[in-house]
Symmetry: none
């Protein structure tokens, strides 16, 4: 089954936004065995959309369109699709009600432009949008399918996951593709590659291994192409390969597939009915917001103290003024006192304390930009490390967060073992 | 002058990499007045490349191709271009020497595959690559230009900057394109559209307006196509239009072009030598990390208290137990006490306090998921609001953050006026 992707919007052509929708769609479709043959980005221009649609529809079985479905005048995708499929817009009263409820819930009144979004092409199956006001559309003609979705990434993704992918997999017999993701943290891509070089070089031709690194995390993806007949054997083989790889890098594997390290930490804490809190300086609340991004975290996540200023470090976490004077705020001594003060204050079982120089300014010869101290532990034992990350402020904040989570994860696992 | 961009490579179609080359090229070309009419990504497949080239060459004056120039077997762009332009590869001895020197410098010996890179199409002008081993190529035929470049972003960019852009601007008289972005917050796309409907419908054909919404923020982009001769008049016109639009939605415009709301808040605080801190519950540190993502924030951002648990709300922010018992943690009373406690603790000039139900669980009939209370202000005055956002946890956190920043921005602006 072949697919094409069309992304519509001037903002893509002038490079104001990077088209991440296509990459996500490419990845998602690939995982269920649909091959993307081309991605085309065009402007909000009727003739261009019509021509591109005509070309791609001939070269694929299904065409995914994103963008141009908003309530404003520059959004012409719906009208253009009506023209292409020679149909007209009709009001769907049920959708108008939904839209009215959507606005009412937010304490706003619906206006004419938004009411227009309840008009949909007569011969299209509407697709619900649980995250916004633009409905999606599913057209069929001469054995070909065209799906139109909003360009806002989170609306498009939820529409795909909730409605479109189930519709496709129910209806078509797709080839079997098995994916297994090994989620690792705290080890570089090239070191992992070295450790599993022999496994990688002896992979059968039908199994591919990809390295997907992301600021301290590396996802190893095994993809196996198979048939219904060979599914069982292939599943077993992928499982064996996974175990071989994991055995080489055991301490850096925190989970599988879509798991996040902050989620795994949450599970470990829930299991033991334990709690955590954080004391942050250079990460400025990023660790707190990462831990609390997990639904249900309120059972184990108590809170955080972000002490950007010297005064708050002393006042809130009891860091000694002599420590700050002698070793500076970016030091092992400071993060350890931050951790002690945090555990004393919040009474959480575990704590994370971080202080560093995120940059771009503030670096010295001894402690250049990217120097970060992290201390993690509980009232009985703590581990403190110095890291040297990059020149980039945003990357340093994420690296610090990932390494702090890796350290506390390791601490929890070691405690579980003993 | 119209351009098309073709990016070649399976890794783009399966979503393993996001095609950032196209966005960069789009932006760069747009800045010198070349209009990109389409971006097409195709796989390393001869027929597909030939067909795409044929189509795009008819629809534009210049085609930029990236990717498929490496030394390995799957890199077929050069051979395909030879076929398209009916020419053959010839060895350029000078380039072979350059390649040999390149490898020698890196302590490596050149292999046969790399030697092959010194073979270039007879009728193309080669383009030097100062960052890698694949030369670029500049073809001309029937008044059309095709430029082929490597896919590695930094190699492609340096080739564009050092050789291709100067070649283009020297040779062609290009139109001028003006962009103006109006950055708004706290007003929906459709309400803005309503308020400026008359301005929008009377825009001259050469000026386009686009709405780019993102969870509480909307960027309005005016794009004007003009000539060197009319540049001054058009600049003035865009400026006038900008002022007309801004006058309708004044209170929601926080800046222009690439500005972020957290950056503007930072500037306002620096101007007055004032400081800020935050007390967060449902946002879990996201507001703190947004404020501290700005370089240099340590002059005005003191820190934050994230109180996820009831105990910490009482202990750290002095929220009364009777308040929690009577009104709950998600209430106007609670966030106001959080704000008072915060200002007392951190001594910052301004504070932001947030408490709500991010979801997915924890909602009640009175306070469904997405209910969020925000209080902002200083020791003399505060403003508290109740919001109803969405069902989605991640979205609710970002919406809350954006609305909190909008409220404190408004507070700062009003204070400045009075």
């Amino acid at each position: 089954m072949l697919a094409s992707i069309i992304t519509i919007g001037d903002e893509i052509l002038i490079g104001q936004i990077v088209d991440t929708n296509s990459a996500w769609l490419g990845q998602t479709l690939n995982q269920i065995g649909i091959k993307v043959v081309q991605i085309v980005s065009v402007s909000d221009n009727e003739q261009q959309i019509l021509e591109t649609l005509d070309k791609t529809i001939h070269e694929s079985d299904i065409v995914f369109i994103t963008g141009g479905l908003g309530p404003t005048k520059d959004d012409i995708t719906k009208y253009t699709l009506c023209k292409y499929f020679q149909t007209e817009l009709v009001l769907i009263p049920e959708y108008l009600e939904k839209l009215e409820a959507y606005f009412k819930k937010r304490g706003r009144t619906i206006n004419e432009a938004n009411k227009g979004q309840a008009y949909l092409p007569k011969n299209a199956t509407p697709i619900e949008n649980t995250r916004g006001t633009a409905f999606g559309m599913w057209f069929e003609k001469d054995e070909k399918i065209v799906v139109s979705m909003p360009g806002v990434p989170h609306e498009m993704k939820s529409m795909m996951q909730l409605e479109i992918l189930p519709k496709i997999t129910n209806r078509f017999e797709l080839p079997e593709i098995l994916h297994k993701n090994i989620m690792t943290i705290g080890m570089g891509e090239s070191i992992i590659a070295e450790k599993i070089a022999d496994i990688e070089s002896s992979l059968p031709a039908t199994i591919k291994l990809a390295y997907l690194p992301n600021l301290g995390l590396v996802r190893l993806r095994l993809s196996a192409y198979t048939t219904k007949k060979d599914l069982k054997t292939t599943t077993l083989l992928v499982e064996q390969l996974t175990q071989s790889i994991v055995s080489r890098i055991q301490e850096h594997v925190y989970g599988y597939d879509e798991q996040k390290i902050e989620e795994v930490i949450g599970h470990l804490l829930i299991e033991n009915k334990e709690t955590i809190s954080t004391a942050e300086s250079c990460t400025g609340g990023y660790i707190a917001s990462t831990l609390s991004s997990i639904a249900g975290c309120s059972t184990y996540y108590l809170g955080s103290v972000v002490t950007y200023s010297y005064e708050l470090k002393t006042q809130e976490l009891g860091v000694k003024q002599t420590t700050l004077a002698q070793f500076g705020a970016v030091s092992a001594e400071c993060v350890e006192e931050m951790l002690d003060g945090l555990l004393h204050k919040t009474k959480s079982t575990y704590g994370i304390a971080v202080s560093g120089i995120a940059g771009p300014s503030g670096g010295t010869e001894d402690k250049p930009v990217g120097t970060v101290y992290i201390s993690v532990g509980d009232k009985n034992s703590k581990l403190t490390k110095r890291y040297q990350f990059t020149d980039n402020r945003a990357d340093n904040i994420i690296y610090s967060t990932n390494m702090a989570l890796f350290m506390i994860y390791t601490h929890l696992i070691n405690k579980k073992k003993n």
